[in-house]
Amino acid sequence: MLKITKFLLKKILKYDKVMIPIMILYTILATVQPFIWILIPTKVISLSNSGDIRSILFYILAGGIVSIISVILLSFFIANFRMRANSVRYHLIRDISAYSLAMPYENLLDPDHLSKIQLAEEAIRNPRRGIMGILNISLRLIGNILASIGLLGLMSTLSPWIMMLIFTLVIAQFYFRTEADRFNRNARKSVSEEERKYFKTTDLMKDPDYAKDIRIYSLINIMEIYAKESLGVLKDIVSKSEKKYIKAELIESFLNIIRDLVVFAYISYMLLESKIQISQFFLYTTGAISLVTMLQEMLKQMAEIFVYTKGVRAYMELLESPIIVEDQDDIQIRTKVDKELFTIEIKDLVFRYPNSKENILDNLNLTINSGEKLALVGENGTGKSTLIKILCKLYKPTSGNIYINGVDINEIPEFIYWDLVGVVFQDALLLPFSVKENIALTNDIDKERLMKSIDDADLEHIISKIQKGVDTTLLRILDDEGIDLSGGQRQKLYLARAIYKRNRFLMLDEPTAALDPLAEAELYEKYNALSKGKTSIYISHRLASTKFCDRVAYIKDGKILEIGSHEELMELGGEYNKIFNIQSKYYKNIDEMEVI
């Protein structure tokens, strides 16, 4: 609790300092305000017998003016506070995005980590609950705490015993409520797990990418059943937790009978015995009722805050989790690694997904010489893309080592390493920004480099055709005027991305899968030219691409089965030979074509 308070105060100080004086002023006014309309009537009743109407009016007006000023200020402060809290929230959303963008890629494979992110996101996305809930409630809570201390003091002037009784009863009620709260908190985890499934399902229902398949295959029926199943679970948990609250509140109401009886009996007795005056009767009954209301409200507020702490804790934990740091440069390693020569040595590499027994890569050994072009070939699911991800330092090997220019890859900070690799992934994506931003992926664009990469990737003739050239927005997600690119155009843009980025080591994962033959041939040539003298890896199911690679590695079951130049492997007559023949046999009659 203390940690969360400290954390929130730190964030407030960082993003909006003015919130602190507002909180203090609000608290003072909120403490004083409830007393005005308890004390003034008491005074009026005590003066009523004297008939001194002028003093009465004076007290009422004086109290009234104070009260008016304080409510105006309170409203103003609370609105201001909410606004500021909300802007802090937007900053916090950005902070968690910054974390997600820089956390180790492997975290995305860990469902527990993903639920933690979900929990943290919930804590900041909702404008009423989570962190906003804590901030708004705690503001009122502090005022309530101070005011109830005052009221407790007031009641103790009647009788410390009565004060103690009220206090004890409220604590007892709190005790019974915490049981329900505890249940609710524990249920929260399964609720958020199930909500994740539920909202993921309903999000997919309206995801434009899924729209075609949903329609053609009537997938909505299955999805709706899944949603309804989750809903059933959710309703069940919610109703169980609400039942606990009903039980707690029944006990609460029962304890209130005792309170009402004792307090009223005691005050009446005091009045009958003339130990207090009529005005005091008013003072103490009103005081007692206010105190009880306030204490109960306080406890509810605390309980509510408690519910939200889980998300905030997840949020805090995430922000403290390791991320890929960007500002530690290791000159020594950089000079060792960042060289014209770029050799990669893979030794006994094993990889399997967490919680899985199946080795995707199984004792793989491979050396890629500097300036060598290597083609990776193999059936679907043999681990080619996984190897690329490991060579990108996105996945950590389960065991085994990789040396880059003799330096263990684990010792090279990502931040340095990523300066050296250029990759085009099979499932690369466009962002809904301008063409140039999609290429440079930075807001600080180097014009010359941009033009060169557009040139090299042969994007020029596409860009010249669109109205705003490189400033044209892609996709219609953020801009209705945005345009979409065809598969081939996209691939060229991704290639331009890789060119714009400086790199010593190029990896292309199936870049031509969606291209027409002309574009494909063109891209092969581009690639051939671009990777001249550069260490590079090329994955493709189009075996023609192996022709311009220096060596071909055929992967099977997570191991390298055959390796050598295209000719050598054809000579060998193994698996590679077999699949190359499968693919090329239909092209064999090219000679008769030449005759035509």
Binding site: K212, L272, N355, L441, A514, L543, M570
Partner: protein, 590 residues
């Protein structure tokens, strides 16, 4: 403004259909909540008067017990109904996003891809947060009316001047609240597009599809920079709005205070003039205070309900979007042989000047395998979307067996089609459910056999058999921690199995082997003839070795059919097809 408020009864009616007890329970809770404050206002008066005058202990005792029991009974009923209603509130909140999802699956795809529709999704989603407070606000509204009416009754029976004070002050308050409400709605309108953009950034951050490139290209700083631009926009709106909001709510509160002060003065004068007892004074004072509070509550409930009315507007606006599904048409008998014919079809995408194709005509004969070949962007995929009735041509008609495809009921029409889109998607449910397209409890033994058969035909049976759980495995880890993470090629095989298992009259494959290794590609194409036997089929492929198996090939360039024939004749014609083939083939000649 007014008609937005009218959506609420409609919403209440909709909700009551699913939750019959919700509204009666709301009324019960409102009545008890409305009368509850009166116990603590009225009974103390009698205690006090008795204490001052007759001082009968047993009478005082009776009142005190009445007070305590009254509180207990009322509180208990309120508590039970409150928590029951909470369950309804949650359910309503969940239901909204499901309804939106289901509706989304029935509207025109082109409408769905529009930014304005995406904005509507976001507004409807944002609105759903507030929908949780729907039940609460209705209850608060009714209960405050009950309290107000009864406290006014108490006040007026003692001093008619009080009613005047109350009426005047409340007219003023309502004026202020109207202003606040206007601010709220204005804020919402200006904020929604920003919020959607901001949410988009937050979503990208957690989307593993973007994660690789973001890291390797160090694009995180850039994305945060873009997000900050949006955030600054939000904060600007936020600041101007909230200060105004604070000002007007301050004024409103001040008016309530003035009302209390005047009431108080009037009561004090009566008390000093001995026109009322001390008991009545405290009661009336309590009533006046309560009245102020209840008015505050009423206005709060009213504001919350109008905001809600505004918030559910995008929801209803969305629900009212035209559904493209039309099952009222009569089912047509088309028999076993199926032809597809394009007659002068013209199509362009919204917001685009240029036509993808103009006056395109061609025919796919019954049981024929037709391949469409052409450069990227030639309009091949668009043809498929048009056949699938996902897009409507601006001009011309498409016929199945001579019947305009628009004349088929949607459900019947979709049964004809087994399609693998280039960017096909599998849902995160079980493999079997993905292939059979039914929930597992509706899947029969025969279905499972069929699924395995198709998985074998696409060459992925063995892999799946090796996974413990086999066909019952979930795809991805969204529904199940142990879900499979198939590679792109494996997913494509499952998608082809799904298309084949559907057993429609027409098979359409858009680059069915793009992600497949050579062996699988060979298998798929070798099998294609077998798989599509007796079916009219159409496929797009850039692998010109595969197009040989097609009965007929059409070559599309810039929206026009420039060549047509089988592989041999097209090679002889020595046009674009032959050129593309030659280039591809030369790569295999070492």
């Amino acid at each position: 403004m007014e008609n937005k408020f009218k959506l609420l009864p409609l919403f209440l009616k909709d909700v009551s259909k699913d939750y019959k007890f919700m509204f009666p329970l709301t009324i019960v809770k409102a009545i008890f909540e409305g009368l509850y404050p009166l116990i603590n206002i009225i009974i103390p008066k009698y205690i006090l008067d008795e204490l001052i005058n007759a001082k009968r202990i047993e009478v005082i005792g009776k009142y005190v017990i009445l007070l305590a029991l009254g509180n207990f009974i009322f509180k208990t009923i309120i508590s039970i109904s409150k928590h029951e209603l909470e369950i309804y509130s949650r359910s309503i909140y969940y239901d909204v996003s499901r309804r939106i999802g289901v509706k989304a699956s029935k509207i025109d795809i082109q409408v769905m891809e529009r930014k304005s529709t995406l904005d509507l999704f976001e507004r409807a989603k944002y609105g759903s947060y507030n929908i949780q407070s729907f039940v609460e606000s209705i209850t608060l509204m009714i209960s405050s009316i009950i309290t107000i009416v009864s406290t006014i009754g108490i006040l007026v029976s003692n001093d008619w001047r009080l009613i005047l004070v109350i009426i005047i002050s409340n007219i003023l308050t309502i004026l202020c609240f109207n202003k606040i409400k206007e601010l709220d709605i204005d804020f919402e309108k200006r904020n929604a597009p920003f919020n959607r953009k901001y949410a988009y950034f937050a979503n990208i951050a957690n989307d593993f599809r973007f994660a690789k490139d973001i890291r390797l290209y160090k694009a995180n700083k850039f994305l945060l920079y873009k997000a900050k631009e949006v955030m600054d926009g939000i904060l600007k709106i936020n600041y101007t709005y909230m200060n105004k909001h604070g000002f007007f709510s301050g004024i409103t509160q001040a008016i309530v205070q003035v009302q209390i002060i005047i009431t108080f003065i009037l009561l004090s004068i009566s008390l000093v003039g001995k026109k009322i007892t001390v008991g009545s004074f405290t009661m009336l004072y309590g009533a006046a205070n309560q009245l102020g509070n209840s008015f505050k509550n009423l206005i709060e409930a009213y504001t919350s309900l109008t905001t809600l009315g505004y918030n559910i507007e995008p929801y209803y606006e969305f629900l009212e979007l035209e559904e493209v599904e039309n099952n009222n048409l009569e089912e047509k008998n088309i028999g076993e042989s199926v032809t597809i014919e394009f007659k002068n079809v013209s199509f362009k995408y919204p917001n685009r000047e240029d036509y993808v194709f103009e006056k395109l005509s061609f025919k796919v004969n019954s049981k024929e395998t037709l391949a469409i070949v052409g450069k990227n962007g030639a309009g091949k995929t668009t043809i498929i979307k048009l056949i699938c009735r996902l897009y409507k041509p601006q001009e011309g008609k498409i016929y199945i067996n001579g019947i305009d495809i628009e004349q088929f009921p949607t459900d019947q029409y979709r049964k004809f089609l087994g399609v693998v889109f280039q960017d096909f998607k599998l849902i995160p449910s079980k493999v079997s459910e993905n292939i059979i397209c039914k929930k597992d409890n509706e899947i029969t033994e025969i279905d499972i056999q069929l699924a395995w058969e198709k998985l074998e035909e696409t060459g992925i049976k063995q892999w799946l058999k090796n996974q413990s759980g086999g066909i019952e495995n979930y795809i991805t880890k969204i529904y199940d921690k142990n879900g499979l993470m198939p590679s792109g090629g494996q997913e494509q095989k499952i998608a082809i199995s799904r298309a084949l298992a559907k057993d429609g009259h027409i098979i359409i494959l858009d680059e069915p082997t793009a992600a497949l290794d050579p062996k699988s590609e060979e298998e798929v194409f070798e099998n294609l003839i077998k798989l599509t036997k007796g079916k009219t089929s159409l496929f797009i492929s850039h692998r010109l070795s595969s197009t040989r198996i097609a009965d007929r090939i059409i070559v599309l360039d810039k929206g026009k059919i420039i060549e047509e024939g089988n592989h041999e004749t097209l090679i002889k014609e020595d046009g674009l097809y032959a050129n593309m083939y030659r280039i591809q083939a030369s790569q295999y000649m070492v």
